[in-house]
Every structure is written in C-alpha cells, then in structure tokens.
Symmetry: C2
Subunit: 478 residues, 2 copies
Amino acid sequence: MGDVTATDGTGTDTAAAAAVESAATAAARAALLPTTRDERAAWLDALAAALEADRAALVALAAEETHLSEARLDGEVTRTAAQLRFFAGVAREGGYLEATLDSPDPALIPPRPDLRRMLRPLGPVAVYTSSNFPFAFSVLGNDTASALAAGCPVIVKAHPGHPRLSRRTAELALTVLPAGWFALVEGMEAGVALVQHPVIRAAGFTGSERGGRALFDLAASRPDPIPFYGELGSVNPVVVTRAAARERAADIGAGLVGSFTRDAGQYCTKPGLVFVPSGEGVEDAVSAALGSAPTSRQLTDGMSAAYASALERFEADDAVSVLLAHEVPGTSTPAVALVDAAAFLAAPDAFLEEHFGPVTVLVSYRDDELAALLAVLRPSLTATVHRGAAEDVTALANALAPIAGRLLFDGWPTGVAIGWAQHHGGSWPATTASIHSSVGATAIRRWLTPIAYQDAPQDVLPPELRDANPLGIPRRES
Amino acid sequence: MGDVTATDGTGTDTAAAAAVESAATAAARAALLPTTRDERAAWLDALAAALEADRAALVALAAEETHLSEARLDGEVTRTAAQLRFFAGVAREGGYLEATLDSPDPALIPPRPDLRRMLRPLGPVAVYTSSNFPFAFSVLGNDTASALAAGCPVIVKAHPGHPRLSRRTAELALTVLPAGWFALVEGMEAGVALVQHPVIRAAGFTGSERGGRALFDLAASRPDPIPFYGELGSVNPVVVTRAAARERAADIGAGLVGSFTRDAGQYCTKPGLVFVPSGEGVEDAVSAALGSAPTSRQLTDGMSAAYASALERFEADDAVSVLLAHEVPGTSTPAVALVDAAAFLAAPDAFLEEHFGPVTVLVSYRDDELAALLAVLRPSLTATVHRGAAEDVTALANALAPIAGRLLFDGWPTGVAIGWAQHHGGSWPATTASIHSSVGATAIRRWLTPIAYQDAPQDVLPPELRDANPLGIPRRES
C-alpha cells in the first residue's frame, strides 16, 4: 500500500471501489502472516514516536483544517501518542488474550478433555474517523491503535473535515507499518464499500447518530453480518444537588461553562443537559461565568449552521430563556438554554437531542420533580453528580447508573482519561454495541474472537497456551 | 408470572403480543431490584436440584416428544444441572465482573481520576431454545443459566418440538425464581414480538440459519438495535492425515460413525465433512462400522423429511456414492456420501451445507489436493485433525484454525464439555456474533455491559469496587 490517498473523495464509485478493493486485498494478505505481540507493540511505540517527531507540522495543519487551537491540538498529539503506547502496553502484557486452561477430567458428564482458550485477531477491520478529534479519534486514534494491538490490519476511512491532516498522518503510518497493515481511503462511496467488503471483519466508528446508523445497517445486512462498534452521541446529563449548589454554586457555574464551551463545545462528552435546584443561584453563577467564556470557530461551516439553527429553535420556544455570551464575529456564541422542569417534561425530546457546539440546557427543578426528570433520560456516554460534602447520593447514583456508561462525581465529563478501567460507551444511542467501547484497555476486544484448542499437541499451541507459559502472560488455570 | 403458558402457539397475534407484554413488564420490574451474586447462584443451584428431583418425569416426557433415548436424555438432565451449577460458580467467583481499578494520576495527559470499572446486567433478555437439546439448550439451558447468573431476567421462547416438556420445566423454574425473573412464551408470533420488545436488551438463539437470520435482522432493525447471539449451524470439518489413516483406520472409522450417528446425527457439532487420504482404507473402515450403526427416529417429521430429501439429492448426483446402513422402518437411515476431491471442488456448495441427521460426507484426497479443499471451507463451530503419533500437524492446524471456533485433535466434536476454557462459536454462519458463545464461562458476558465510576464516594460504589474489596473477588488494580 504505497498509496496514501486511494481516492480524493470526489472520484467516481468505480475509483472508490477500486481503492477499497486494493486496500482490502493487501490487508487480507497481511492478516495471514503471523505477528507477535511484541512486534505489534513496537509498531505502536514507533507510531507514537513518529507522531511526536512530526508534531509541529501536524498541529499547524490540523489547526488550519479544524479551527481548533494549537494548544488543544498539541495536547491531543500528546494524548494520541499516549494512547498508542497504552495499547502497546496492553499487547505486551498479554492479559487481554484471556488465556484460560482447563485440565482434563474424565469423571465429569460430559467428560472434560484438555481445553485451552484464548482470543485471536478477527482479520482486517475498518475504522471510520471523527471530525472533532483529528488525532485521538482519527487516523492513528484509539480504534486504529487497539486494532493494531489486537493484530488486525486497519483500513481507515478519512473524515472529510481534515483531509490533508489525514493524509499526512497516513504517510507516517506507512513509514512504520509493514505492507498491508494500514491504508487510508476517502469519500462516502469508499466508506460504504468498505463496511460491505467481504474481507472486513469488524468496524469502528465515531460520529453522528445518522451516519453511524446508516453504516450499522449496512454491516448488519451483509450476507455475513459483522460487528459494528459505533460511538454516536450523547447529552451527558448532570445533576447538581441542592446541597452542592448551596456549598459551591460559583465553582459549579464556572466548571460547567469551562466544560461545555471547551473547544467550541465539540466533545461527545459535553455536558449538554444540567439539572439544577431551583432558587439556589446556579443559573446566576452560570450566567456570570458565561461572560468570560472562550469563543471559537466550529470545525466546519455545516456544524456552525446547525448550531445556529439549534439556538434559533431554543430562542423561538416561549418556555426557554436563552443566555448568550458576547458575540465574536466568525465564532459560535456560547449559550445556555434555561427551562423549568414542567416545560422540560411537557416536551422533553427537544432537550434530549445532542447539539454539537457551545450550548447546554439548564433545567431548574424542585426536589419533588427530580425523579420524573431523570425518568425520561436516554442512555448517555456519561452522567454526573455534583453533591454536597459528605452528602449521601446513593439513590441518585443508582437512578443515573442505568443510563450512563461512565458515572462521575464532582467533576466534568469532558477529557476522557486513558486507563485500564476507562469505559467510553453506553446503550443505544450512545453506542451501537453496549458491550465494548473505543477507550480503555477492553477496546482491544472489539477486534478479537475466541478459539478453544482441545487435546492439542504442545507444538501446535500458540506459546501463550503451552504448558510452560514461556511468555509469562497472566492466565486462568483450573 | 404465575402463568407458564402465556400462549399455546395457536393463538392470535393479539394473544401473543399480550403474553410478551405481560412477561416483559414483569421482567422490567424485576430487573430494577438489585440482587447479589450469591442470591443468583443459590437460584441456579436450586434450579439444578429441582431438575434432578423431577428427573424421571422430565425424561419420560422428553422421550415422548423428541424420540431421543431415555439414556441420552437422562445424561442431558445431568449435564444441564451441571451447567446451572457451573454458572452458579462463575457468579460466586466474581471474576466475570472484570473489576478493574485505576488509581488517580494527575501528571498524565489527560489527567487520570480515580476510575473503577465493572460489568453489570443489561436488563431482561430473550432466549430462543433449540429442538435438539430439550434440556441443555432449552428452557433452563446454557442461555438461561448464564443470563440468570449475570443478573438478567429471562423470557424464554419455547421450541415447538417439545411444548409439554418446556411447560413442565418452566413450572419448575417458577417455583424457584422470584416474580418477574422468568417467563415462557410460545408460538412464532410471540417470538417475533419478543425480540422487538423495547424492554428486551439482548437475545440468545440456538437453531437454524434461516430462523436465526430472521430474528437477527429484527434485532438489528430495531430503533435501538440489541445484540443477538445466535448459534446457527456448522459442518464441522475433519481432516484425517495419511499417517493417522495408516496407523488406525479402523478406530477412526468406528469413532466417526459413532459421532455422526449419535442421537440420529442431530448435533450442531456433528462431523459432517471428513477429508480422508485416498487409498488408505478409511472408506472401508467407515463402511464396516456403518453396519452396526444405531438407527433412530429424528426429532420431528419435518426433520426426517428434510433428511430424506438430502439423501435423495446425494443419490441423484453421479459424482457421489452413498453408503447406507441397514434400514429400520420409522427411523432415519445412517448414510455416508463418498466423493472425490475433484468432484467436491467442482461444486462444493452441496457439501458445505449442514444436513441435520445421520449423514456425513467423505471426501477422498491426494496429498497435493488438500490445500485447495481446505480453502473453500466456511466458518464452523469446530474443526478436527486426526494425526499420526508424533506427526507434526502445525501447518494443517494453522490452516484450519481461522475457520474453527474449537480446534480438536484425535477426537470427535460431538459432546461439548463444560468448562472455563470452552468456546462454542465461530464466525458467520456458525454464529451471528463471533465474540462470545453460549458455552463456557464467558457466555455470561453476552448479558453484561460495562460501567466506569469516576471519583465515586465509597458508599456509592458496588461492594466489588470498594477499596477494601469486601467480597474478595479477583480484580485488576493499577
């Protein structure tokens, strides 16, 4: 795969199909050659180093294409390198293989032979990248890193929001990875062909509910359906308790504004729906903080227009008051939509939809209204509780837990940490598959499938399953 | 759910919908009440004991409805009780929760808070039962056992092949399980309504490719798609090496006939396609063993008819020789279809299809033909190698591994052992989801979804995630 840009996105269906075909053929060939976990970990480390070595040029290009700040993008390169190294560590440790050994027991019904199970790579996979994280959820982002760690060749469908950055990142990947292990394709036709290609064994996606659903439907309607792991969207509800508001309304207001306006409010974990106790001054604190909120240009003109029209709909709604930050030409103005519990419950759908951009909805509640408000929530990537010092919020946490992939306390959901215990998922519509997510060590499982060996000779077994455990990986033996 | 038979399968759409609605409402209510792992493990132990206590009546009823032998059915009750107790053990041990703790590290980019992840139940689930295992993959089979272990209420769609046994087993379940945790529904309308019901969060299925695909498509086309875990079908290829044939053709012939004719050849792991080296006498050994093969009646008249027509198609094919056991009126006659490699490769589809019943296909190969034969195989639940003593079969094993969920050596694939390392899956069309299967400890994962707690107070955390690990479960801490 010497070719980075198989199609420029303006080509014909034929060109897109040919690009996908060529990438898939090479990926299928690569998938047949065995690699070791250490080899793949070394690739990931080298990719991290390659990103860092090209940091200045990548950041400049990304800033031009995405309008995100250089400071944010510089931090995102650091994060992306850390993700690549994190998955290198996951691959080296080997626990992800879930190596499990059962010794024979002829006395059981049915008798148990020697059984040894581990996970192995599924084969070539497709990765659909996001616009809002041009590094961390793009060409060399979490999906690609976890798939390479698993041992799956990756074909990336570039996001049209940063085509030149995607190509430059792909060039770096091609300098590091062996033939067939990586390819970049562009354009909607290529994306549609990719998820339907017989060689592709799974797909990861970060983007809109509409786009994700369309690709999910294609994956499910194949003659041989494949898993489709889509992270779609989320309003990320926050509940501020009365005790919390009394103790620290100003802090909460400032923290909220900092979180929902961060990088023009273009985070999938943006707190987009905040329940605040009536009469405790949280609205005033938010309003005060809004005065000094940063303003910035959104990723694309389409997103700016969608944001403007969402604001117009809020402004046209008699039940909603809209607070606006000062307007700065060429940027999307941060805004807060205020509504009371009764109006929210009268027509919740308008407030339960994700609005990309620097806006959040504040719903003021009396204590006897909170349960009804929480009952209408849809599944979300995160839910947050702000509580008073030493306040018992167990009941509230238990009410929020069922709709949240991550439940956090006294913090803000933007800025998803990297770690073994992280989870960035949730039931539909937060993600298409509630089982595994794109962040955290278990992201690697999306690209794996089990095999059980029964009474296998030692030399046939992968080293990780041999008696001596020569590579010293964590195993379960019984 | 005092009512076992919500509908008898002959009712109207309205009756089926009402039955599903009533079961789903009760299941949704049950799912909201927290249970402990120990409580659920005790339910599973009690279900096992209840099955065993009613063994004689259950076996008699099952024999009448399925035509399987009482000896086989008695063994299957023992197996089913063992499965229930196995999942009780999985629940008690708690490792399945994948409890993972990350300590805070503010120096990281992004900073890492206190993160604690574990799996939790998805909510009510649907189980579609099989005809060929009226206990082990039916009302209280692996799907139900693993879902209850996980903490998910279960609504079972009964198989029409053994309605009275299903109802009697359901009565036992209702004496043991609390309200809402179990219901039985019957009839195709109920099955269709069930997988589409908003309350249902996942489904398990064991059956035909056609039926599984139809339900999979319904699950995927919901407004909120749910995971559908279907085990569909498989030919379970076997390769007998030349060395193995020279050493023990008679043993192999007898073992093969015993496996493919067992219980009228109605196992999803039946060896249905066997590659034997030309000129080594394996065909003769099989033919000899066929003379004393047991004959039995198939589960349903429909299956007998489908089997008869499969034999007719083989007999009408000039490239195929059919060996028949002696005919016994009222039973399906065991048969072997013989074909050479060239004829197989000329039209492989006829031989790659699963045929339920006591038939297998023997393909004789010359050594230079084997690679081409293996290249056309579709994914299967199992693949088997019979090798010579001390023969190195690594290359052959590596060729078969990609299409096999379980790869076994010098044995026969029927009789799926229970264990932590077992896997009963495979890529489409063996199963709809290659990630987890219905047998083995990880079957429980199909009914679970992660949650990550960030900076949570100790009293909000489930005990399994608290600092002190009061329940002493296996955890990963970093």
